[in-house]
């Protein structure tokens, strides 16, 4: 395998460059996926049937915690990539672990939030609005959950093999994924929660 040393490790082989481009294209597909969910959300957000509307069930505190935690995790994953480029494996793993822990906290709060929605009578079967709300949030949450397991797999490999073209490539792609989830959350925060609460 030809390694091009003029580039960062994660870009250093042909295979790595292909993977990064491929992942960007995948994110393009993900954008469409969430765009479709958002479009459906806007269309169905008035379809509350006999159930409650967004303004009646949204709670600001957990949402703010989630937002804060996820934004911070996006920052730590950025620091992870920075540490990786400097070749500092320990620091890199530290930031990686921080990201995953923050992701787990986010998920915990989101689960609390879901329980709350079901508790106040906005379950999956209540109305079209509650269904699309839980589906949109759930799709994002499922992405985060998947990201946690994926991140742990990569972390183990970094621990095992050190910073190689392969492991750095995986970590870098993971960071793209994580930033993307953060961007999606910002949209959810603005167009689902803020708009819903106003």
């Amino acid at each position: 395998m030809k390694i091009d040393h003029s580039l960062p490790l994660e870009y250093s082989t042909d295979e790595n460059r292909l993977k990064i481009l491929g992942f960007w294209i995948f994110l393009g597909a993900e954008v469409m996926l969430f765009a479709t969910l958002f479009a459906s959300y806007f269309i169905l957000s008035g379809g509350t049937g006999d159930g409650p509307s967004g303004a009646e069930i949204f709670e600001i505190t957990p949402v703010l915690i989630e937002t804060l935690v996820l934004l911070t995790s996006s920052f730590t994953i950025g620091l992870m990539v920075h540490a990786m480029r400097l070749g500092r494996q320990k620091a890199m793993m530290g930031f990686f672990i921080a990201t995953i822990v923050l992701g787990a906290i986010f998920l915990g709060v989101e689960i609390y939030e879901f329980v709350h929605y079901v508790h106040v009578g906005a379950g999956l079967q209540t109305s079209a609005f509650s269904a699309i709300l839980l589906t949109t949030l759930g799709t994002h949450g499922a992405h985060v959950t998947f990201g946690l397991f994926w991140g742990i797999c990569i972390l183990i490999q970094v621990k095992k093999y050190g910073l190689t073209p392969r492991t750095t490539n995986k970590s870098f792609i993971f960071s793209l994924y994580w930033h993307f989830l953060d961007v999606v959350w910002i949209f959810i925060f603005s167009f689902v929660y803020l708009k819903g609460m106003m």
Binding site: I25, M32, T36, G49, G51, L124, C153
Partner: protein, 648 residues
């Protein structure tokens, strides 16, 4: 026993029992045959675990041909039922199931794999690559498609077929009106196959953008590769919409949500919108690669370069953009008012312009050419007039006020068959004849091929032209019967004759494959058609690494120039080649996905959870596996090259 009752067919008939027996017999025969001839190992090593784009391509094409016959059998049953007024061959429920599966199978499990199969086989060769960007993902794509296709196909013997039309409009497709598990099959089988297609889209985009031979700029790519590039862009942007729609449909059916229900705030039109936001681009996913095939074939057999290369590319780009802004024309009659209809009417008709440009460019490619009428060329020449008939009726359908009269009638059915059959099916048959020697090392008989082409072309006209008439006479589509007094009888009888001609034409192709396998000469060289693009610069059979050294490209027909002007195509010295290893993981994941889908269809949650864990386990295994591929040594390459006829 109660557990097994769910797998019973809700609406059985002798034909379905016969099919069950046939499926069982064929499955046993395959297992026994493989064991008897000791081919299990061969099958596993060479095919089930392969990551080679050429073999995956061939497997796609075989699957597509099988599905063509499945969908064709559905078509014959439908036409037979309608051939006479008040016919009693099928009842309403069976007819509904059959036209639903006909549509889904033909679009998603016949046309799509046919196209993706040729994309797999041809694109890496045309751009001078050794494989696609992610060979294992490519294998996974195939097995996901195959799992989806098989899941969909067992529906009629286990639990019941979907019966809400291939568009599955809600609320008709909801539990209240579609009571069997059939529509669950629809939602989940298409979901699985769709994931595979999305992965294909990502894979081929990366491949085409990053892995072209040195010197091949975008504007020097062969036209088929261009069409594949644009198609895959459409796939990446359209399929996620389907993913969401199907997920919401699944939730509605299995988890009691109200996305598309008419109660509790649901909106049935949302399904129609989401379905067609995917569905219309899907039409162009099918037709653009077909256009690419025609461009290659026509230019090869007119012995001329393709006329208007740049406008060909531009028109495809414009078509792909327009394809996302016309979906409302599938339901002009939904009451969105004159203004919205006018906008979508104009965008729809606008597609005729780039399409017309392509037709004229093909005609002008013939100009001053030296036309050799081989079978692939004959298909292309039959495509132009027939597709024009289908295309102009599409413009007529695009006029929304008039569409109030065409909508939901046989006129529409005639239109889309007249574009899809000459557009896509003829292209795939042309490609089958054209690439057959490259795939299998012998040519299909030209005489039998041409007879078949004529039968299929005339059969298409006879089967579908009468539908234009009966549609204008008021025959709605999807009616399982009609009265004598309606006067539709004669037109449907003519259609039946055409359908039988089509069946005969396809049977003749199968016979041709058998005949040519037995009798065709094997010493045809690597470039039997005297073609122009890079895929013909490799040996036949193609070595696994495709090209021993990278070709050097300076014009868009470098291979043709190297033949005519004697320029060197392969200037480099042989070096060792890195190739990926085979892997059983994609195949195993395909099987798990099949079981996952099956559990999902029947709402069996424990097996579903186990399968989900299995899928994640496979992904984790894949992540931890330390497989760096392998190298083919210089000596080995030199030996292979010598055996196949020396370094070109």
């Amino acid at each position: 026993m109660e557990f097994f009752e769910r797998f019973a067919i809700p609406h059985p008939s002798p034909a379905i029992y016969a099919s069950m027996v046939a499926i069982a017999v064929v499955s046993i025969a395959i297992v026994v045959g493989l064991t008897y001839f000791k081919k299990w190992g061969y099958l596993w090593r060479e095919w089930l675990t392969t990551v080679d784009h050429k073999r995956l391509g061939i497997m796609y094409i075989i699957a597509a041909i099988l599905m063509l016959f499945r969908g064709g059998a559905d078509a014959i049953m439908m036409r037979a039922q309608l051939s006479a007024p008040e016919n009693k061959l099928l009842d309403a429920q069976h007819y509904n199931e059959i036209f639903t599966t006909h549509g889904v199978v033909m679009i998603l499990f016949m046309a799509m794999p046919f196209i993706i199969g040729f994309m797999n086989f041809v694109v890496p060769l045309q751009i001078g690559a050794r494989d696609v960007a992610f060979p294992r993902l490519n294998a996974l794509s195939f097995w996901l498609f195959f799992a989806g296709a098989m899941l969909f196909n067992i529906s009629f013997v286990v639990g019941g077929s979907p019966d809400a039309g291939w568009t599955s409009y809600f609320p008709l497709a909801d539990n209240e009106f579609s009571t069997s598990v059939g529509t669950n099959y629809y939602m989940i089988a298409i979901q699985i196959a769709g994931l595979g297609t999305l992965a294909t889209g990502i894979n081929f985009l990366t491949t085409i953008l990053k892995m072209r031979a040195p010197g091949m700029t975008l504007m020097k790519m062969p036209m088929f590769t261009w069409s594949a590039l644009i198609t895959n862009v459409i796939i990446v942007f359209a399929f996620p919409v389907l993913t969401v729609a199907l997920a919401m449909g699944t939730l509605d059916r299995l988890f009691g949500t109200h996305f598309f229900a008419s109660t509790n705030g649901g909106m049935d039109m949302l399904w129609a919108n989401l379905f067609w936001v995917w569905g219309h681009p899907e039409v162009y996913i099918l037709i653009l690669p077909a256009f690419g095939i025609y461009s290659e074939v026509i230019s090869t057999f007119a012995r001329r370069n393709l006329y208007g290369y740049k406008s060909m590319v531009a028109s495809m780009v414009i078509i792909s953009l327009l394809s996302f802004v016309v979906w409302v024309h599938h339901f002009f009659t939904m009451g969105q008012g004159a203004f919205v209809n006018s906008i979508f009417s104009i965008t729809t008709m606008a597609i005729a312009v780039p399409t017309g440009v392509k037709i004229f460019n093909w005609l002008l490619t013939l100009y001053k050419g030296k036309i050799v009428m081989t079978t692939p060329m004959l298909y292309s020449m039959l495509f132009i007039p027939l597709f024009t008939l289908g295309g102009v009726t599409g413009v007529m359908l695009g006029m929304s006020a008039a569409d109030y009269q065409y909508h939901n009638t046989m006129f529409l059915v005639a239109h889309f068959h007249m574009v899809i059959i000459p557009g896509v099916v003829f292209a795939m048959l042309a490609a089958l004849y054209y690439y057959w020697p490259k795939m299998f090392g012998f040519m299909l008989n030209d005489r039998l091929g041409k007879i078949g082409a004529w039968i299929i072309a005339i059969g298409t006209l006879v089967a579908f032209m009468p539908m234009f008439i009966s549609g204008l006479d008021g025959q709605a589509r999807r009616m399982y019967t009609y009265s004598e007094a309606s006067g539709f009888g004669i037109w449907n009888m003519i259609s039946m004759v055409g359908a039988l001609m089509l069946a005969a034409g396809f049977a003749l192709i199968v016979y041709n494959i058998y005949y040519s396998f037995r009798h065709a000469p094997r010493d045809i060289g690597s470039d039997p058609w005297d073609a122009r693009t890079l895929e013909w610069a490799t040996h036949t059979p193609i070595p696994e690494y495709n090209f021993a050294t990278m070709p050097k490209i300076d014009t868009y027909e470098t291979f043709w120039d190297s033949k005519k002007k004697g320029t060197t195509l392969f200037p480099d010295k042989i070096e060792k080649i890195h190739m990926p290893n085979n892997s059983g993981i994609p195949f195993i994941m395909g099987i798990i996905f099949f079981l996952w889908g099956f559990s999902f269809v029947f709402a069996m949650w424990i097996p579903l959870i186990i399968c989900t864990l299995g899928i994640f386990a496979c992904m984790a295994y894949q992540s931890f596996e330390n497989d760096h591929g392998r190298y083919i040594s210089i000596e080995e390459i030199e030996e292979t090259e010598k055996e196949l006829g020396g370094k070109r």
